[in-house]
């Protein structure tokens, strides 16, 4: 029995590893899983206060009177960007931290980057609870179109997987990748309209930003959930295609270099 080229056994293993990964983070902490909520909420509060002041309660052409409305707009971007940033930051140690699975047992190593992405997706799902709460108290309300959000997220997941596969493999051979991945995530954060809309920038910068598939995906998801606006399917298709390409390249690189892992770990 296979699904997406992954056997039943591997799915079980992936799920168990992901659960373990989530739990490992919070075992032996005082407030446990609440950290998963507390950190993003505090960051959100800070960003909301600062950026609503900087942009004088404006988001693009829209005047945003209530702080909760502003928070909702920022929150969606933070959630999507969070999936990317967390995965990329953890990717370089995905393989290196599991030497036993590389050298001592026969293990489908491709699951390890997938575990990392699953964990960051899990954190994103947790954040949905406050998001829905904020939304229902905001002036935007809940839109039925928001149910399409999972579909818009599929290319994002592919994109993140591609980068995670790539950095996970590279991290085995080059110890600098740790630093580089963190820097890369930071650069992407400012290239992505998370804390501000892309149209506050003049033309050349705006186009550069729009070229990033993640930027398109964040903006489309935001207008879908906040304003109930369906995406431009042409733009969506382009960003999905680029994401798929990143995924294929990253996966290919990972599978190509995988055999050499045992020689250097």
């Amino acid at each position: 029995m296979r699904f997406l080229g992954i056997t039943r056994n591997e799915w079980d293993l992936l799920r168990a590893l992901a659960l373990r990964d989530v739990r490992k983070r919070y075992t032996e902490t005082l407030i446990g899983a609440s950290w998963g909520l507390l950190v993003p909420l505090v960051m959100l509060a800070i960003y909301t206060v600062i950026f609503s002041e900087i942009f004088q309660a404006k988001w693009g052409g829209l005047t945003v009177a209530a702080k909760t409305d502003y928070a909702v707009i920022l929150f969606i971007g933070l959630i999507v960007y969070g999936i990317f940033a967390e995965s990329v930051a953890r990717a370089p140690s995905a393989i290196v931290s599991q030497p036993n699975l590389v050298t001592k047992v026969v293990f489908p190593l491709r699951l390890l980057p997938m575990v990392i992405v699953s964990t960051s997706l899990y954190n994103a799902v947790i954040s949905l609870v406050p998001l829905v709460l904020f939304l229902s108290f905001s002036s935007f309300g809940l839109h039925i179109e928001a149910l399409l959000a999972p579909i818009l997220l599929i290319p994002t997941i592919a994109l993140v997987l591609g980068f995670t596969f790539f950095f996970a493999s590279l991290g085995v051979f080059l110890r600098d990748v740790d630093q580089f991945a963190a820097l890369f995530a930071r650069v992407v954060q400012y290239l992505t309209p998370v804390l501000y809309p892309s149209d506050i920038f003049p033309e050349p910068i705006r186009s550069v930003m729009r070229a990033s598939p993640l930027a398109t995906q964040v903006e489309q998801l935001r207008s879908l959930i906040v304003f109930g606006r369906l995406p431009d399917w042409w733009e969506f298709g382009v960003s999905a295609l680029v994401s798929l390409l990143v995924f294929i390249l990253g996966y290919w690189w990972f599978q190509r270099t995988r055999r050499a892992f045992a020689d250097v770990i």
């Binding site: 039943r8 056994n9 079980d12 293993l13 168990a16 590893l17 373990r20 490992k24 075992t27 036993n100 699975l101 590389v102 050298t103 001592k104 047992v105 026969v106 293990f107 085995v172 051979f173 080059l174 110890r175 270099t257 055999r259 050499a260 045992a262 020689d263 250097v264």
Partner: protein, 463 residues
């Protein structure tokens, strides 16, 4: 796939390790080779890929075949390439050249608890381990009780693995590996940490797995375990196959090599005069018939002294091969010195047909006892012998062995220390002689391998 093709087929496999200065050199090596392979020949001839890292040949031209249901041993000193070979078979390493074909699901106990995560409980690790071995979650669930019963570590099952002793870790790992019923099971010297009872249980479990058709690959430094567990073995030396065949023969070769390696370190003293390399033949033996002459293919040593004959005799001194419990047995070992020697020790070992060593004793054992009791009158150790001398040592005992077939091994050693601390093997002889023990079932009987000469007393009763 036909059922009689070997489950493990290794064809002239070599493995080169490159010792890389930096992990990134491994990447450059891989893509250097990749680039030159993908270029057109005209270009690639000119473009010489740079070689990164130093080469180390862990295995060279190793071939072996293991049939379904066979128990196969792998022997070799540290660094001989045993672990590399096992990793190639397990699939965690890939050969540099040659091919490895495996037909069946592999379970491997390569290193103690290597698949375990120390922060999680035994229970969680059982599931993780089972799934790593290729089972689905529900398959592990259905076998969980068997695993827990076999591991028998009680409430520790729900404690984090980091709190386990190495013995408990082994119990759990072994239980998972065997209860998941692999078709090929690889055991790498892991059993040594278990306690005696668990080891016994492991051996019994391994036997029953082999009986059910599981193929066993066994690495151990314990020669007795190899001898009793496996039928065929492979001896590795410096990455090459040094011997392959029936385990008893391979073990002998292993011991021969161990001995040769030891004597390399042995600094020869008292080289007063070296006798010519005259080959000692059996002619000097007075009591020994030619038929008792030893077969040198089962021997190793420096041959500064030579066992020229070993014979088993009865009370009257006649050659015999069959004894009853209580019978006097005499074993005569004839040794010829090829140079001037002293501090000798002539030693016997008795082994049953399962290869278990039942008893070993030598002239030095007697000497030690005499020194201890102050009766140093006649001590073999003090005797000096000249080149060409023939010594006959007669060992006597009353047969206390159970029904069976017994092998006599004999050896002559030079002992520079009175208590076996510094020994040099002059001649070790396997299969020096054989004898059989029977029993008159209506006169005197006991069970097992040794007669403890028990007595019974009783109290009570109406008298």
């Amino acid at each position: 796939m036909s059922s009689n093709s070997p489950v493990i087929e290794i064809d002239s496999v070599s493995k080169v390790y490159r010792v890389y200065e930096k992990p990134s050199d491994r990447l450059r090596q891989m893509f250097g080779a990749g680039v030159s392979a993908s270029l057109p020949r005209r270009l690639s001839g000119r473009w010489q890929p740079r070689e990164f890292g130093k080469e180390f040949w862990a295995l060279q031209d190793v071939s072996l075949q293991v049939q379904r249901g066979e128990a196969f041993g792998i022997l070799g000193r540290n660094g001989a390439g045993k672990s590399t070979l096992l990793q190639l078979i397990a699939g965690t390493l890939r050969p540099t050249s040659g091919s490895v074909t495996i037909r069946g699901r592999i379970g491997a106990l390569l290193e103690l608890g290597s698949g375990f995560n120390p922060d999680f409980t035994g229970r969680e690790n059982v599931f993780m381990n089972g799934m790593i071995l290729g089972l689905t979650k529900s398959e592990v669930e259905s076998r969980f009780d068997d695993i827990a019963t076999f591991a028998d570590i009680g409430e520790f099952l729900d404690q984090p693995v980091k709190t386990y002793s190495s013995g408990m870790m082994l119990r759990l790992a072994f239980a998972v590996q065997t209860q998941t019923r692999p078709e090929i099971l690889i055991i790498d010297e892991a059993l040594a940490v278990g306690d005696a009872i668990f080891q016994k249980r492991c051996i019994a479990k391994l036997r029953s797995l082999v009986d059910e058709g599981c193929t066993l690959l066994f690495v151990s430094h314990d020669q007795e375990t190899i001898r009793t567990m496996t039928s065929r073995s492979l001896l590795l030396r410096d990455g090459r196959v040094s011997a392959q065949g029936p385990s008893s023969e391979v073990l002998l070769e292993y011991r021969r090599q161990q001995h040769a390696d030891e004597s390399d370190y042995f600094t020869r003293v008292s080289l007063s005069q070296v006798a010519g390399p005259e080959k000692a033949t059996g002619d000097g033996a007075m009591l020994i018939e030619p038929s008792a002459e030893v077969d040198l293919s089962n021997a190793f040593g420096d041959f500064d002294a030579h066992i020229v004959g070993v014979s088993v005799r009865d009370e009257e001194g006649k050659k015999a091969g069959y004894f009853l419990p209580g019978d006097r047995v005499r074993v005569i070992v004839a040794v010829k010195c090829n140079r001037n020697l002293r501090n000798l020790n002539v030693n016997l070992r008795l082994r049953n047909k399962e290869g278990v060593k039942l008893y070993s004793w030598g002239t030095l054992n007697q000497d030690i006892h005499r020194w201890a009791t102050g009766d140093a009158g006649s001590v073999f150790w003090d005797e000096s012998f000249a080149s060409g001398d023939l010594i006959e040592v007669e060992f006597m005992f009353d047969c206390a062995l159970g029904v069976g077939f017994y092998e006599v091994q004999a050896c002559v050693t030079e002992e520079r220390d009175r208590y076996y601390a510094d020994q040099r093997m002059l001649h070790w002889q396997d299969e020096a002689a054989f004898f059989q023990v029977g029993m008159l079932q209506r006169e005197y009987r006991f069970g097992g391998v040794v007669d403890l000469r028990m007595r019974a007393q009783w109290r009570g009763g109406s008298a």
